[in-house]
């Protein structure tokens, strides 16, 4: 029984590896489904913007408010902008954006592809001569890989604005002085790392969602499982990746 489980786990891993390999193979092979890619980008990027903006703003505002007491203890509330800047740009913006997107976009992809798989639309697509992998998987993974970083920039900006609102209310810091402090605390490495990790997160969300949907078991139950697992799995992987990226950055910074 246990041996069986381990065997299945390895088969699953092999399937995942084959799936990722196929993605990169299809990525560079024409024809390219530009229209579908744009449609998916629109769905992933634009449709998530209100949610991401709100979340980013709330995170910036609340984090600023909650950090104040510990800095107040040293009488160092003037360092709040620097603290907010480091927290949002180095960690919060990419992470929050990726997690929210995993919930919204990942589950959407999993459910969509899962139901297509269940209703055998994917098979029908193959019969009609369209490459379903290219049309469904590559376009979605490209969309998440490019849109999550842009959403991250938005959410970082909105989060910093949220922090500014809170600091302006409490410390009366001016806009210019706040942003001066913000950019004094970070450097290019932080900015590029933010872009880099959000690309990784975006790719993870897309590929996990597509895999779960594409390989969902038949039946209505399979659709729910695909949606559920795509969220859980991508969130878990995002944290693991964050851990690794932080280690690498620590090495680069010294």
């Amino acid at each position: 029984m246990a041996l069986d489980k381990i065997k299945r786990m390895f088969i699953e891993l092999a399937n995942i590896a084959r799936f990722v390999g196929r993605f990169f193979k299809e990525l560079f092979n024409p024809p390219f489904e530009f229209k579908e890619i744009i449609r998916q980008c629109y769905e992933v990027g634009w449709k998530s913007l209100p949610l991401i903006s709100l979340t980013g703003f709330v995170v910036g505002f609340v984090f600023t408010n909650q950090s104040r007491p510990s800095l107040q203890e040293f009488g160092a509330t003037s360092w709040l902008p620097a603290l907010i800047s480091i927290a949002i740009i180095r960690a919060l913006a990419p992470l929050v954006t990726a997690l929210i997107s995993a919930g919204k976009v990942g589950s959407n992809i999993g459910a969509e592809l899962g139901s297509m798989n269940v209703t055998e639309q994917i098979d029908a697509m193959e019969v009609s001569g369209t490459n379903p992998f290219k049309f469904l998987v590559v376009s979605r993974v490209i969309a998440t890989t490019f849109m999550i970083p842009i959403l991250t920039f938005y959410s970082a900006f909105v989060g910093l604005l949220g922090g500014f609102l809170n600091i302006n209310q409490n410390e009366n810091t001016s806009f210019l002085s706040y942003f001066y402090e913000v950019f004094d605390a970070v450097d290019f490495l932080d900015l590029f790392a933010m872009g880099f990790r959000s690309i990784i997160f975006g790719f993870t969300i897309g590929i996990v969602g597509c895999y779960q949907g594409y390989h969902s078991s038949k039946g209505t139950e399979g659709v729910g499982r695909a949606a559920n697992w795509s969220v859980v799995m991508s969130m878990f992987l995002i944290f693991v990746e964050e851990l690794l990226i932080v280690q690498i950055l620590q090495g680069l910074r010294v």
């Binding site: 744009i38 970083p149 842009i150 938005y154 900006f157 950019f183 450097d187 290019f188 900015l191």
Partner: protein, 337 residues
């Protein structure tokens, strides 16, 4: 392409553009603020200890940020060489004889390089120059001094604590004074008495002042007594003599007493002449008879003497005496005229 697709593409285009715009704005703000893209003049400074300074820390001149530390590395002699990137537009204000030291932008803030001094008659720094360095304030040393202060403070507060405890428990004079009510009452009475005494003393001193003023009056006996030593010795001598006199007087009165006693006894007895005279009746009658006899004899003597004057033998003498008396009277009258 359908109309919906077109609209979608446009919205997506704007969305992506704005997103990337935010990234670019951040990059340029960061670059502009940290002067990453400005031209730099690289100069060097060598320190024994950089106290945790890192690449990218700020360089200040007169409190203005003029560059960042570009590199930190060891030299062969184990000293630390810093490469300082000074902004091209600021480097002309830094002279070759300026000094660099390691400071901090707050007590627990980031380490910074502070460039100071330099005289205007020396040319500005050029790329590759090495600045003289000074030792900055050593936080460690400062902290250790502060620690000594702290320990002293602890000792002082401990002493004060013990002291105040003793006072609270009423130990020692101050404690008793603060806590004992009987003592307080006594003190109050004492103070009242003291006030009274002071008033009295005041009066006494006033009287004394009056008295001494009198004593000081020149010529008074008391003053002479107090000031003139001759008077004093005279007085002493006088007193001594007076004593001698009184002794003599005493002896005299004794003698006198004895004498008067003898006199009394002798006067009252008829054995001696005076006693006989004073107390014997028979003698008195005899003396009276004698006196009558003496009177009669005297009258007869007078007659005899008259008769003698008219005697020739003695008449000459009387005539001569009258003449001399008249002469003296005449001379006296002449002198008066």
């Amino acid at each position: 392409m359908s109309k919906a697709d077109n609209k979608r593409s446009i919205i997506l285009g704007i969305f992506v553009l704005v997103g990337i715009g935010i990234l670019f704005a951040a990059i340029f703000t960061l670059g502009g603020q940290q002067n990453r893209f400005a031209k730099k003049v690289e100069i060097k400074a060598v320190f024994d200890n950089v106290e945790g300074l890192k690449t990218g820390n700020n360089i200040w001149f007169s409190g203005v940020k003029i560059g960042i530390v570009k590199a930190v590395h060891f030299r062969d002699d184990r000293k630390v060489e810093l490469v300082l990137g000074i902004d091209d537009k600021s480097h002309e204000y830094i002279r070759k004889n300026s000094t660099a030291k390691i400071g901090s932008d707050g007590l627990i803030g980031n380490k910074i390089i502070v460039i100071e001094g330099g005289s205007t008659d020396v040319p500005p720094v050029e790329s590759g120059d090495e600045l003289r360095t000074l030792k900055g304030t050593d936080t460690e040393k400062m902290m250790s001094t502060l620690q000594v202060n702290n320990e002293n403070l602890v000792g002082i507060t401990e002493n004060i604590r013990q002291l105040s405890q003793k006072v609270l428990r009423g130990e020692g004079t101050i404690g008793a004074a603060l806590t004992d009510s009987i003592m307080a009452n006594n003190m109050r009475t004492m103070m009242a008495s003291l006030t009274q005494a002071a008033t009295n003393t005041n009066k006494v001193t006033a009287a004394l002042a009056n008295f001494t003023a009198k004593l000081n009056t020149q010529g008074s006996l008391a003053n002479e007594l107090l000031t003139d030593t001759v008077v004093y010795s005279n007085l002493r001598a006088a007193v001594a003599q007076l004593q001698g006199v009184t002794q003599t007087a005493s002896a005299l009165t004794t003698n006198l007493g004895q004498a008067s006693e003898k006199l009394n006894t002798s006067l009252s007895s008829p054995d001696n002449t005076l006693g006989l005279l004073l107390s014997d009746k028979a003698t008195a009658t005899t003396i009276k008879q004698t006196m009558v006899n003496l009177e009669a004899s005297t009258a007869k003597l007078d007659e005899n003497m008259e008769a003698l004057q008219h005697n020739f033998l003695l008449r000459g003498f009387f005539k001569k005496r009258d003449k001399e008396a008249a002469k003296a009277k005449e001379a006296e009258e002449k002198a008066q005229q």
